[in-house]
């Protein structure tokens, strides 16, 4: 049990990321790669994710503006996006990506658009939550070990 109030708050924030389904086991594996040699590894990876995926999101947005939809292209973009999202353990984002791909495969344009809107919401929510988490983590100082969520 963390005695330091800031670390306690950090632990609570971290737990809620898992409890609310925002991140999964893959996030723990990222944390396990963080060490003295790479003390901000998780934040660096997440930053890279948001930078990398912004381009894909834009590609999808542009593709959804062109009618008729090129479902094959949309699926290819989302395949790439889903891969990146899986890498950081972005659970809800990954789930919406899967749904989007199913709509692509069935040629359901309305479904794609709905799913994409939801995906962007989850993507933005996760960014906000992780941003707050990393900000507090920097203030709290290094945490000794990664631990699996309860």
């Amino acid at each position: 049990m963390e005695r330091n109030p800031m670390r306690r708050q950090l632990a609570i924030m971290r737990q809620s990321l898992f409890d609310q389904g925002h991140v999964d086991e893959q996030f723990v594996q990222l944390e396990e790669l963080q060490d003295d040699a790479n003390p901000n590894f998780v934040e660096e990876v997440v930053t890279l994710y948001y930078r990398d995926s912004a381009r894909i999101i834009l590609n999808i947005e542009q593709a959804l503006e062109r009618k008729p939809f090129d479902f094959r292209k949309l699926d290819a973009y989302m395949h790439q996006f889903k891969g990146s999202s899986s890498s950081i353990g972005a659970k809800k984002v990954k789930a919406e990506s899967t749904l989007f791909r199913e709509y692509c495969k069935s040629g359901n344009g309305e479904g794609c658009m709905r799913s994409f809107q939801q995906l962007k919401k989850e993507y933005a929510t996760l960014r906000k939550k992780l941003g707050a988490y990393f900000q507090l983590a920097r203030q709290a100082g290094p945490v000794e070990t990664a631990s699996r969520p309860k």
Binding site: Q26, Q29, L30, E32, L33, D35, N38, F41, E44, V45, L48, Y49, D52, A76, H79, Q80, K82, G83, S84, S86, S87, I88
Partner: protein
């Protein structure tokens, strides 16, 4: 996930410390900077010397220039030259490195085509510590035999 007898139930769950090896080298071939970073750090933690390549052509060119690696992590979908083509080329060149395909979840047919290009194993990305441990164990066995 498929490979030469590799299945999730048969993977040896050994700790990373058991397979730290400073003599092994790896090439991570992936068009995603995020995946390159992840696999790079992961493999370095096990003591491997790691290089990265952003597509299959860069990987093939490295081998043409005389580079050699014990392990190649090969993404499937890449621009310029994809993983299937790159793997075929490397095997045609006589490269005997362990080549491990790393894919997003695809249908079994797609993974099969990738395996037939000359992979030793194929796993879903990103690779977990257990899978990396398994691969290094296999590499160590292979090197001890030679």
């Amino acid at each position: 996930m498929s490979g030469n007898g590799a299945s999730s139930s048969s993977l040896n769950m050994i700790s990373g410390e058991d397979v730290v090896n400073n003599n092994l080298s790896a090439l991570v071939v992936d068009d995603s900077p995020l995946l390159r970073l992840l696999h790079d750090i992961h493999l370095k933690k096990y003591g491997l010397k790691v290089q990265v390549a952003e597509n299959g052509k860069v990987a093939v060119d490295l081998f043409h220039l005389g580079a050699s690696f014990d392990l190649v992590l090969m993404d499937k979908e890449m621009p310029v030259m994809n993983g299937v083509e790159a793997t075929k080329e490397l095997r045609a060149m006589g490269v005997t490195s362990m080549i491990v395909g790393v894919t997003s979840k695809n249908g079994p047919g797609e993974q099969q085509a990738f395996m037939e290009a000359g992979l030793d194993y194929c796993f879903e990305k990103p690779l977990t510590p257990e899978i990396i441990s398994f691969l290094l164990e296999e590499l160590n066995k292979h090197n001890n035999k030679n």
